[in-house]
Symmetry: C2
Subunit: 231 residues, 2 copies
């Protein structure tokens, strides 16, 4: 299920966890500023990380896929909110158990390190997208990234169509745009025969043109997949 946790690693972690938790789609795992004593290791499902801004705006920080580590923060307050996009399962590891876990199983430590630094690289990628790219590129990138990452996670599904439980408002919140403007851009992409995004269903009609509109290079796509490259 989770690429980052081979079965063996899973069972090792299991002996340090305080328990599992299942969350229904749409429910919150935790909210910003809420007390959060345990690290949440996502085992199954999609989870949305977000930050709320005082004027009512919301910024989506990441879409966490299985293997992600949520709730890492100094102090015991969550710095951001987390809510399940699909039904999800997390494995809870109390903060104070993390030290012993890594002490006894350094290999796990290395894996966690790689997971988090991949998350950091992804965040960097989003930063330059939101900070320096026009709306069309941001949206094309965001959708392409979601597509690539989910295909990598669940290679079974093989079509160019996928279920994406997001509204256009969500896409706006991830790209730093308004839902209304996202709608206009999507309209353009559809008119150009590049993709369709209708009621939680994304269909890529012309992958080449989408890559072109997103202005991503092969290297970046590889980074999205999370694969370590060959030597």
């Amino acid at each position: 299920m989770c690429r980052d946790c081979a079965p063996k690693a899973q069972s090792i972690i299991a002996s340090y966890k305080s328990g599992d938790r299942t969350i229904k789609a749409g429910q919150a795992l935790f909210r910003p500023t809420e007390r959060c004593d345990a690290i949440h290791h996502l085992v199954e499902g999609w989870v949305l990380l977000y930050d709320l801004v005082d004027d009512g705006g919301r910024q989506i920080l990441n879409f966490a896929l299985p293997g992600a580590l949520l709730g890492l923060s100094p102090g015991r307050m969550a710095l951001y909110g987390a809510e399940a996009l699909t039904d999800a399962t997390v494995c809870l590891i109390p903060h104070e158990r993390l030290g012993p876990l890594i002490e006894h199983h350094p290999g796990i430590g290395l894996r966690l390190l790689q997971t988090v630094w991949r998350e950091r690289n992804l965040a960097y990628d989003h930063l330059s997208s939101i900070g320096r790219r026009p709306a069309r590129q941001r949206i094309a990138r965001a959708l392409l990234e979601l597509f690539v990452r989910s295909r990598m996670q669940w290679p079974a599904h093989r079509s160019e169509e996928m279920h994406l439980p997001l509204t256009q408002e969500h896409i706006g919140d991830m790209t730093g745009l308004t839902g209304v403007h996202v709608n206009r851009i999507l309209h353009g992409l559809r008119a150009e025969g590049i993709l369709e995004f209708h009621y939680r269903r994304l269909r890529i009609l012309n992958p080449d043109k989408l890559v072109d509109a997103a202005r991503v290079d092969a290297q970046t796509v590889v980074a999205w997949t999370g694969r370590s490259a060959p030597d």
Copy 2:
């Protein structure tokens, strides 16, 4: 010098490194897409991480302070560029040594994990700033963050004035704005008696008003400092 690396940890890492490297202010450690075989552990100085966008734009991803881990990427290509803002020293750890290092010294693994996840949280913070805040708040936040982080790193300096080797263009590249617009906003902040930023020197005239303009809460500031909160 580096808060994250107690002397003991330093000496352990030393036995796994391939060497040190000193970089003069303004010089590049590595450029985007350049081959990069070793992890760069920053020991001393400020390093700027950036990404270049095809239209000529640049996005600053982070200002790395001592303790930061640079050059972590899948494959052996750098996903971003790194350039020294001040004279700097890095300790180079070949990628293939990382496994053995953590294997034999799990405590180091835990520290590295905490370092990277703090960097990730900082990137998330920047995301919501750039994605959802107006120019004035972004700039106020950016300057306040730099101030807080550098004060935490070098507590010796105690005044409300600091040396910041940046141009207004740099501030634009970190906040996703143009240098010209940064200038106008800084003009406003100066007119209000909040701060002065003139030729590589930042002086905070009214800390309370700056915090107000930046719209940061205490919790976020604590996260910037990198301190783990008490239980």
